[in-house]
């Protein structure tokens, strides 16, 4: 009787457990297949104006280049008004969009450039299944791990640093480690001129630190990521503190840190990690932890830099030649 019970029990197990195993495996596969992403869309209406002044002493006839937020899978911009009327919209070598405006301004005269556009930003949070992270395809690696005037991957100090603090077999881990190191070793100060990572990295005590503002933070990150084969690029635009606020800059003032109270021009980083694609990396929004794939809709991206040696000239938003840009303002409000 007992022998029979034993045999039956073993037979049942022999049949049932393999089925359980198959179910368990496929259940696991499903989890892997659906990394969760939550989106937080927000639409702004932006009124932008810029004051150009002719201080040259002759009539100035020139083209002014006005940066417009480029459309991506997470950003949708619709231009409602541009004054003076642009000749056309174009893209630069990076694919960033600008309006081309011809102006004629007499000596000592002023000219206002006015734009209105809506921009829908998809904030998002990715709940990563870290094991799914992959390194990039060759073509992406070739383009986005190359060096540039700001990202010198042959700098031995940065190369050694990157290998020491952030080498990993998992690209997401590499992304996190670099961000953590940069954040932990930041000497924040507003910087004049773009120094590039070679000059952003400085000695501090026995170690190294990043000195500068968001641009130096981003440039150092991109260089370290590229050294380790993680495709990276910079994004320029704004970081707001609330959904409705006005940002302005008077170019004749030299305000130091006070500037941050009314100007949120910002640069951050994106890394390319299949299967998710480009993921935003933010190191300055929350100084207690870097945010990777956790992108608030308080960011308003305008364009990216990643393919060209000199980056994008459109970082400056409004680009005249002989005319002088005296004042620029972005008024962000809730849009429909």
């Amino acid at each position: 009787m007992g022998k029979r019970y034993l045999i039956i029990a073993v037979l049942v197990l022999a049949f049932v457990l393999p089925f359980n195993t198959i179910e368990w495996k496929s259940g696991r596969a499903e989890v892997l297949a659906e990394t969760r992403i939550e989106f937080y869309n927000y639409t702004y209406i932006v009124h932008e104006r810029a004051l150009l002044v002719n201080k040259v002493g002759r009539v100035v006839r020139e083209y002014v280049y006005v940066s417009i937020p480029r459309n991506t899978s997470r950003v949708y911009c619709r231009v409602l008004k541009v004054e003076p009327e642009p000749l056309r919209f174009e893209t630069d070598e990076e694919g960033n969009v600008f309006a081309l405006i011809f102006v004629e301004v007499k000596p000592e005269e002023e000219l206002w450039i006015n734009l209105t556009y809506t921009i829908r930003v998809s904030g998002y949070k990715v709940y990563f299944e870290k094991d799914r992270a992959l390194w990039p395809p060759l073509e992406i690696a070739r383009i986005y791990t190359d060096d540039s005037i700001y990202w010198n991957i042959d700098n031995e100090t940065l190369r050694n640093l990157a290998y020491k603090v952030a080498y990993s077999d998992n690209p997401l881990e590499t992304a996190e480690k670099i961000a953590k190191w940069v954040q932990d070793n930041l000497m924040y100060e507003i910087t004049r001129g773009r120094k590039g990572s070679d000059h952003a990295i400085v000695k501090r005590g026995l170690g190294l630190a990043v000195r500068g503002d968001c641009v130096e933070v981003a440039d150092t990150y991109v260089t370290m990521a590229r050294v380790l084969g993680l495709p990276a690029r910079t994004v320029f635009g704004f970081l707001l503190t609330t959904h409705e606020e006005k940002h302005w800059l008077n170019t004749s003032l030299q305000e130091g840190m006070n500037l941050l109270t009314h100007w949120g021009g910002h640069m951050w980083v994106q890394v390319y990690v299949p299967p998710w694609g480009w993921i935003d990396v933010e190191m300055l929004e929350d100084l207690s932890r870097p945010k990777i794939g956790d992108f608030t809709n308080l960011h308003v991206p305008f364009g990216v830099e990643g393919k060209t040696f000199y980056g994008s000239g459109l970082l400056e938003f409004i680009i005249p030649s002989y005319l002088e840009l005296e004042y620029i303002e972005f008024d962000f409000k809730r849009g429909e």
Binding site: L13, L17, D147, G229, F236
Partner: protein, 366 residues
Amino acid sequence: MEKKIFLTLVLLLLCIPIFSIKVKGQELWYALNFELHFNADGTVIVRQKLHPFTAEGESWFGKPEIEEDIKAEEDIHVMFALLLFTSDPKRVKYEVISHVYRDDEEYVLCDVYGVREMVQFKGAYIIEVLIYLNTTDFVERLEDNTFRVRIRDSFTSSDPRSWIDVIEIKLDPQVKLMAYSWEPKTAKKPSEVSETRILWVNYNEPEAPNVYILDLYIPGLKLPERVVGYRVEIVDVKIRYRGVAVTVKQLGKPGYFFVRLVGEKLDITRKIYLEENEQKTVYIPAPLEGQEEVKVEVWYEDYLLDLETLDLVEKDSETTPSPIASKPFVVTSILVVVIVLSVIPVYGIKRMREKTSAVRSESRVK
């Protein structure tokens, strides 16, 4: 009109807020006239003629401080010459055949006032750079010795308001112009075209091409099939949990290399830095399910250095079972053992009881 580089004495860029600030001070511009001479041997000489002027149109040619600045910034001008033909100047072989010098008899043209009339500035700072086209990345072979050469306006590329005012392309008699075009199409066509010369006169940036495209027969241009000096060999390839471990050895110059896995719908690349004679193992996580074979490649820039094919069907038996695969087996075994162990005592007690009751019934019979 102008533009071009706007370098100068006192221009400052504020960066946190990404923005340029012009501080009071003199701002200078350069008129830029370029001559590109394509030689039959596959080189090109870039002759840059620069003339500095103020926004009012006043020439600053000959001012000692300007001359000093231009000489001090020669590297930047060389860089702009290289960037006509490449995105990666470090890869380009070149020679500076004339360092910055002053030529009082040269003329440089520029539409300073935006009225579609060229101002003719007298005098130029000149720098000449010889570039080996076979080390650039904007050259593509069309057939035999015919090549498509893309010349990118390196000034527009770095600053949308800048452009080359005049670009004159000259060809050796043995070099033949097969075709030409430009991008974007909204830009203006060349002012003059002959068998050995093309001239673009650009009054403003929107009219200036961003890219000048020439199809040229160049008898002496040989594009390299192998890169010189960089050698990396694949020493070992092993399948490891959810990926492949590739051991490579550096046998040439140090540098960055790409180690790539290629299979069906699979293209995964890790970039590594190898010192001289260094051997390194790099692990590439990869979903190998469903792959019968994958190729392991090592690249230096555009050059394939080594290649190995990994047969996954054969290797299957050598593969260390992954925790996912092995866990159910372990769990099953443990459960079987536990059940057997728990059943044995029950079975034993039952047997003992049966024995006892047999004895008892025996006695009763007795």
